[in-house]
């Protein structure tokens, strides 16, 4: 048997970040909630983080937490669901306030305000604001373990590459800024003037860099960060997993494991009254399960059955956690 999820976590005492990635609707949010629940039951202080505009964490925990900051939904189980639109609107206001304060003006120049508005409307704004929110939470370090419920389609991977690229740019900016200041100082001296005080921009850049450095370091260190893929036993999953493995490889990151979710218990086949529809589905799943096992055995960390209803609410989350962590190789529903 490969290493189970529990064995994996037990063998990773320095782990601080868990990321569930994968295609839409396969079980990332469900796995994130169950993982946070499990850690909270083990005496840890987990934070489950999401930016899903569909408020999927509110949905699964059956509590309205969207845009309300960090909420303790059960003893020692913390959840935050960022309302990205609201956060961006607040951020725009902060930028405007900063401009008014810096230049002692009441009205923001039209051209500038136009820029603030268009920049905020870009899709990339959502993404970068989200990553910044994550980086900030992480830098504060108030929780033992951070579980990031990612939006679909490999965003977890994008997050790392963006942190890497951004870091390089910030480096370059800091350098140009510093050099410019040096020249300015030299000119001032040559002219017999006194040099200027430290550049505020440099202070801001260093702050951004400090946050990003920590974020990138934490994300790319396999000791502190684990990436899991959630898949279901279908043909597409095999191709997706191969692609994901390739992507991870390119970034120099190791995939920590795969959770196979929504598996129909094969024991259902023993029922002589089983419908042809269900029977065919189970047989199809078994066929792909076999391929998945052959190809990716070393990565498989848990098998989770298909439940007879959507796992919502703490009782059901506990049940999912039980399957994921305590009986990872059995798919008969408890």
């Amino acid at each position: 048997m490969p290493k189970s999820l529990k064995e994996f976590f037990d063998a990773s005492p320095e782990l601080r970040i868990v990321v569930y990635a994968g295609k839409g609707g396969l079980g990332k949010t469900t796995a994130s909630a169950a993982t946070a629940y499990w850690f909270s039951k083990r005496g840890k202080k987990p934070l489950c983080f999401s930016t899903d505009p569909q408020a999927s964490l509110s949905d699964i925990f059956e509590r309205d937490i969207f845009g309300k900051g960090v909420i303790e939904v059960a003893p020692s189980l913390y959840v935050v669901e960022i309302d990205a639109d609201k956060r961006i609107a607040e951020f725009q206001e902060e930028v405007r306030a900063k401009i008014r304060e810096l230049y002692k003006i009441e009205k923001i120049p039209d051209e500038i305000d136009e820029y603030i508005r268009t920049a905020a409307a870009e899709p990339a704004m959502h993404e970068s604001a989200t990553y910044d929110a994550m980086a900030e939470l992480l830098a504060k370090g108030e929780y033992d373990i951070y579980i990031f419920d990612m939006p679909p389609f490999g965003h977890g991977v994008r997050m790392i590459s963006m942190a890497q690229i951004l870091d390089a740019w910030i480096d370059k900016m800091e350098e140009t800024r510093r050099k410019a200041a040096e020249y300015e100082e030299a000119v001032a001296r040559l002219k017999g003037l006194s040099a200027k005080t430290e550049d505020e921009v440099l202070v801001e850049l260093r702050e951004i860099r400090r946050k990003l450095d920590f974020f990138r370091e934490s994300l790319t260190n396999p000791k502190t960060c684990a990436f899991f893929m959630v898949i279901i036993p279908e043909k597409m999953a095999i191709l997706d997993t191969e692609r994901a493995l390739e992507m991870f490889d390119k970034l120099g990151i190791k995939l920590s494991g795969i959770i196979v979710n929504q598996i129909y218990p094969p024991s259902l086949l023993e029922n002589p009254n089983i419908s042809t529809f269900l029977k065919n589905r189970i047989e199809m799943q078994q066929k792909y399960m076999k391929v998945i096992w052959e190809k990716f055995e070393e990565y498989i960390r848990a098998l989770v059955p298909m439940f007879d209803r959507e796992p919502k609410g703490l009782d059901m989350i506990a049940k999912v956690a039980e399957h994921m962590f305590e009986r990872p190789w059995e798919v008969d529903v408890i």
Binding site: F91, E111, A119, E127, T176, E204, I208
Partner: protein, 103 residues
Amino acid sequence: MPKWFKRERKEEKREEEGGVKKEVKEAVKGVFYGMASHGMVRYMLKTRMYLEHLFMLITLGDMLGFPILPPYYSLKLLPYAIPHIKTWKRSLFRERDVTDLLY
């Protein structure tokens, strides 16, 4: 080795390097001082302006259709860039291809 230990060391080293560099720079500055020619001031101002433009380009490149930084960080730095925006845009379009500055 605990993490903070490594970090501390790195910083120490950086300071050392900075120290040596600074000394050299001070010496050079001393030489400059007194023989400040008009040409030298102009050269330095030009270099400074070039660096300023480069910085503006990275920060607010999307204003010209060259998004470099993610918009969140562009907006964060925007307030500081405001006084330079007009001259920057004007000189960029006058001087040369924007990409020259970047690469």
